[in-house]
């Protein structure tokens, strides 16, 4: 009997489930990813390098130069203001006011709007939501001329109120659409429980729904702020020295007065990138989802 049993002693060549093997393909993919990483980050590296070069070296393309922080100081000083006729510090502050204002307006109006849209279906509610999203489809340049005419006529040109109003067009759809899905995911049992505990609809919303979607609000607010901050066309056409934002101010270093200061432009762009970055780092702990886990059975 023992002789009739043939042992098959062929070495296993296939992977067991869950097993990984170092293959040529995966190594090649990793190397490819490293190249892509370098390729994507290179513009930022180049900008940083440019920002550290002095005026004589700004058009050179080699990597050895004598780095200096003076460009950052120049951008923020009166000297920079004289060179560009725009106060960069003031425009930073204006940007903060404009974008902060737009985000606050969007949250104050957008959160209840998103709650209503997420909770109740009524006649035309989907059309209304799509209408709101379609503001984002239309290129800004398409509406900028009529807006410019209207702003001039009603005296909103180059005012902060006007800028907040127009930037809110950019931020509101984002806030409403992001938060609507958060409110849709929220089990309605929670608010119903609050109603039966003796709270009104408004208090049920404030007490129950709002704290749970806080991570969503943080995410939406951050995204809206970045979109508003990066907006260029609206402040370029609808504002001047009073309500002009930092995105427009950066470009002033590229000249107009004959001389283009590439090193100063790079320094200004880096400074302008800081506020959204700081904001993102501050609220990142709120960006983690999953707070509602455990409240309602899966």
């Amino acid at each position: 009997m023992a002789a009739s049993f043939k042992r098959i002693a062929v070495r296993r060549s296939e992977l067991l489930p869950g097993q990984k093997r170092l293959s040529l393909g995966s190594v090649a993919a990793d190397i490819g990813l490293v190249f892509w990483f370098v390729f994507s980050l290179f513009p930022i590296f180049w900008m940083l390098m440019l920002a550290l070069k002095n005026a004589e070296e700004q058009t050179t393309t080699y990597f050895s130069f004598s780095p200096t922080w003076s460009n950052f100081a120049t951008v923020l000083s009166d000297k920079g203001t004289q060179m560009t006729s725009v106060d960069f510090k003031a425009s930073l502050l204006t940007s903060l006011l404009n974008c902060g204002g737009a985000v606050i307006v969007s949250l104050v109006i957008g959160i209840p709007a998103a709650y209503a849209a997420g909770r109740w279906q009524y006649k035309g509610s989907n059309d209304l939501m799509f209408q709101m999203l379609s503001f984002r489809f239309a290129p800004e340049l398409m509406v900028i001329v009529p807006l410019f005419v209207i702003y001039n006529q009603i005296g909103l040109f180059d005012t902060k109120v006007g800028m907040i109003w127009v930037l809110q067009l950019v931020t509101m759809p984002l806030v409403v659409w992001i938060l609507r899905s958060y409110f849709q995911d929220l089990p309605e049992d929670l608010e119903q429980a609050a109603l039966l505990d003796g709270y009104t609809r408004t208090r049920a919303f404030v007490m129950v729904a709002l704290p749970i979607v806080r991570p969503g609000i943080a995410a939406a607010a951050l995204l809206a702020f970045i979109f508003a901050w990066n907006n260029y066309v609206f402040p370029l056409i609808l504002a001047d020295s009073n309500a002009g934002t930092v995105t427009v101010a950066i470009t002033k270093f590229l000249g107009g007065g004959g001389q283009a200061y590439y090193n100063l432009t790079a320094a200004a762009a880096l400074i302008a990138a800081l506020p959204p970055l700081i904001l993102a780092l501050t609220i990142q702990r709120y960006l983690v989802r999953g707070l509602s886990f455990g409240a309602v059975k899966a």
Partner: protein, 373 residues
Amino acid sequence: MANISVKDLKKTFGKTVAVNGVSVDIADGEFFVILGPSGAGKTTTLKSIAGLVDIDAGTVSIGGTDMTMVEPYHRNVAMAFESYALYPQKTVSDNLASPLKSGRTGKYTQAQQTERIDQVTKTLGINHLLKRFPRELSNGQRQRVALGRVLVRPADVYLLDEPLSHLDAKLRAQMRAELKQLGAMSNTTTIYVTHDYQEALALGDRIGVMRAGTLVQIGTPDEIWRTPADTFVAKALGQPEINVLDGVVDDGRIKLADGSLDVAVPADAKVARGDRVRVGLRPSDIHVTSGEGSLRGRVLLAERLGRNIELTVDVGGAQMIVLTSGRHGVGEGDDVTMKIADSDVHVFAAGSEPGDDTERLTQQSDKSLEAAQ
């Protein structure tokens, strides 16, 4: 404390009819159980009484006041949700304090709140969990907290939506006994929704059996068990399910062609000679006997389930389940004779298809149905 009166309640969600004409009067302090399979409209009925869904037709009144268009927070109703619906950002203590802090369930000082919470959590055995968040609790603990949030406040009506469904079997039996002993429960009008017939029979003062959005039968546990209004109600109660066999009425008895079934027609059954009927026999009512019997068959399968042996018996081509103590020592393949008391025979109308539900053919159940409505 209040009575509840629901009349012709209707609610549809899109094309789905959730509740289709439910009418029921529930007395002050009564413990009323709604029993039915999932999708029968139990939760929708409960939420309609709470005011959490806009009903399409009908009225709901609590304590004699028409509450149909009244906001939920003015109804003085407390509800335990099947999903618990605990506030995730609040501790157990704050969850329980929530109804006391709203100001609509009475005014409580901090000390009174603490005292009430303390009392309820001790009763439910969750007073060591007060500082925890819902996500840090097991399902059984969450369910107790949800129940606690109902009991912590005085309310006219308690609505409990499957409050024991997510507990394991042992804990469920224990909680069922505890629920019955809770003082607040016995004084307050309670509607209790469940799909577990044992809970319904054990807890209910009255039971309403629900199917496809309607209450099929309303009655005391005894009435529902002894005189089910139709085969659906009969099948809803009891595990293993009631056996339903087809028979023919002949000379005051119901028989099968080959003589394997021969039981007396119950005194109050409305049948005539030659009628085709269905006979319902509960597995626990059938007894294996060594003497004369009204049922004969061959044992196909004998399974020991703890104390009892469950026999699958072939009776005239139909399979039925019989529970036996095993004293008679019947095994698979044996021929058995069984007897059943005349009063344990349920007679239903014959159906056109094997699976459909047919009505009970007794005059008594007609009366009890009318009385209930």
